[in-house]
């Protein structure tokens, strides 16, 4: 950083002021969601005795692990200017199929690998239609949402399928390691990988570039179609992982799991400051967005308020947060 500062001091006052302002603008959306997260946390800490206790905080992490995992993956999709509406359905299909396969007596490591591969395959099929056939991602994944959930319903006939409680499979959702729930550890690992992939690899750079100007990235010799296809592979594989964790935690696979999950994920990503127009995304913002959504749900229950208030409060905060971004940090979320 020292060379940057020295260059700055050689420049005029105007250039330096501009750079400082740019830094705030660039991080404005992350700053605003961090503020929201703090405010919500402080309110619930004061309003309820149970909120700020380590069992409750660990419980929040455990319950929000699927949201954190899929939201991190969705950040890649949305940053390319796409969207994946099928994640809730993929989650449900994987949850039911993994319960079914375990009942059939397949060994649990094989079930996990098969389910992750199934997720990747579903993502690849959808990604193919988006990237190579040029069909809008909204349409492709809306069809995916319908078809994949339908398959899950067809397999189970609408019933939920139990997983034997003694199965090592349930460890993924229920175990505690070093005082931390296993799903939270998995989520932490995925978030670290997502952060590094997004910010430190050529792939992450091209994801941002495709969202900003796909033609420029293509002219630079990058295989933009394959890159676009791959973000859908990532999001569906992440949804499969979330489905495995949920089935393991609940000890059953239900075809009704993850109803509306895709909207919760998109809300977390957008709250975090990732632009739906593409080109702008942050993993840190997404984590804060997902945690804010999770804290609101948890806090309202602890405050003995109706859980049905959760969607109302979440929706209101989304609108206010994005509105603040437009007003205070104009430019940070502009649509170009």
């Amino acid at each position: 950083m020292s060379d940057v500062t020295s260059t700055h001091s050689a420049q005029s006052q105007r250039v330096r002021a501009g750079t400082w302002r740019d830094a705030v603008l660039a991080n404005g959306s992350v700053v605003s969601i961090a503020l929201f997260f703090l405010v919500v946390s402080v309110i619930f800490s004061v309003a309820t005795d149970a909120f700020l206790t380590s069992p409750n905080l660990l419980n929040i992490l455990r319950q929000s692990a699927p949201l954190l995992i899929v939201a991190a993956a969705m950040t890649f999709v949305i940053t390319t200017g796409g969207i994946d509406l099928s994640v809730g359905s993929v989650l449900a299909l994987v949850a039911t199929l993994s319960a079914t396969l375990l009942q059939l007596g397949l060994p649990w490591p094989l079930v996990i690998l098969a389910m992750l591969a199934l997720g990747a395959l579903l993502g690849a099929v959808q990604g193919y239609f988006v990237a190579y056939e040029g069909i809008p991602a909204f349409i492709v994944t809306l069809a995916g949402l319908s078809v994949i959930r339908g398959v899950a319903l067809l397999i189970t006939g609408g019933y939920s399928i139990p997983i034997e409680p003694g199965s090592p499979f349930t460890v993924l959702g229920r175990a505690w390691l070093l005082g931390v729930p296993a799903p939270a550890l998995i989520a932490l690992a995925i978030l670290a990988i997502a952060y590094i992939a997004f910010n430190e690899t050529p792939f992450g750079r091209y994801v941002t570039g495709i969202g900003a100007n796909a033609e420029a990235v293509r002219r630079a010799g990058v295989n933009t179609r394959l890159t676009t296809l791959f973000v859908y592979v990532i999001s569906a594989a992440a949804a499969a992982l979330a489905g495995i964790i949920i089935a393991a935690r609940l000890g059953s696979g239900s075809s009704n799991a993850g109803q509306g999950f895709e909207l919760e994920v998109i809300a977390a990503v957008v709250l975090g400051g990732t632009s739906l127009f593409g080109g702008r995304g942050t993993i840190v913002g997404t984590v804060l967005g997902a945690l804010t959504v999770a804290v609101i749900g948890n806090g309202l229950i602890l405050a003995h308020l109706s859980p049905f208030l959760t969607p109302i409060v979440t929706g209101t905060i989304i609108l206010i947060a994005i509105w603040l971004n437009f007003r205070l940090f104009r430019g940070a979320v502009r649509s170009r």
Partner: protein, 265 residues
């Protein structure tokens, strides 16, 4: 070679027809090493098509291209790039939300491998960007600035700098100074001089005739798909060029007294 002169580029008999319109009709173009050639003509005269033939984006119906005396045929921009012909597109092809260094190195980022996975080598990328910008005299305070926060002239400089960094032997620029403020035009023209001083041959397509007299060595005028004239910059003036472009004696007010003082280079 036979004429005793080595041309960097020699295009001859280039023709291209789009349905009813003969866009290029037996057009020739020569370019010497380190020379700046101004390519002018009215809209539809064929300047852009001719430059796209050289950059591989358009395949001509007839004609030959030689580069450094070697006959070549380009069927794609990648083939032209391999022959070290670079083009700066009018829309610049920059990613607004990516920083200066990221845009300069887009698609060929310096990498370092850790455990078999390649990561961006950001430190090296920013160092090399700084060197590259300094070498070309491009003034940008911070290579971490996002391109959307730069002025039009700076954005143009980044696009030219990127093309120049491929060490091209021929650089084609389509309207690089359109829609720029006065000081920015000067900076871009300086950049063109800096690039050509490094031995790069430049083809400059522009409607700003006054720019031609500041950087070009020679001007080639096109009219309805043919080349109609060629002038060394010292042997012409802006009125002459305007008349050649419109194809008749034309008393354009833009070509008279207001520009006369600054016209000869």
């Amino acid at each position: 070679m036979s004429s005793g002169e080595t041309y960097r580029v020699r295009m001859s008999g280039i023709s291209k027809r789009y349905n009813a319109i003969q866009t290029l009709d037996d057009v020739s173009l020569v370019l010497r090493p380190g020379e700046v050639l101004g390519l002018v003509g009215d809209n539809g005269a064929g300047k852009s098509t001719l430059s796209k033939v050289l950059s591989g984006a358009v395949v001509p119906d007839a004609g030959t291209i030689e580069i450094d005396g070697m006959p070549v045929t380009f069927t794609s921009p990648a083939e032209a790039r391999a022959a070290r012909v670079e083009m700066v597109y009018q829309d610049l092809s920059l990613c607004d939300t990516v920083d200066v260094a990221g845009n300069l190195f887009l698609g060929r980022e310096p990498r370092r491998r850790i455990a078999g996975i390649s990561f961006l080598d950001k430190k090296r990328m920013h160092e090399q960007t700084r060197q590259m910008l300094d070498r070309l005299g491009i003034v940008i305070a911070d290579t971490r600035l996002k391109v959307e926060n730069l002025s039009g002239g700076q954005r143009q400089s980044i696009a030219i700098g990127r093309a120049a960094s491929f060490e091209p032997s021929v650089l084609i620029m389509d309207e690089p100074t359109a829609a720029l403020a006065v000081a920015e035009v000067e900076a871009v023209l300086d950049l063109i001089r800096a690039v050509s001083a490094r031995g790069v041959s430049v083809i400059l397509i522009t409607h700003r005739l006054q720019d031609l007299f500041l950087v070009c060595d020679r001007i080639q005028v096109m009219y309805e798909g043919r080349n109609v004239a060629e002038r060394l910059i010292g042997e012409t003036n802006i009125e002459d060029v305007v008349n050649l472009i419109v194809g008749r004696k034309f008393n354009a007010r833009s070509a008279t007294s207001a520009y006369r003082d600054g016209a000869p280079a």
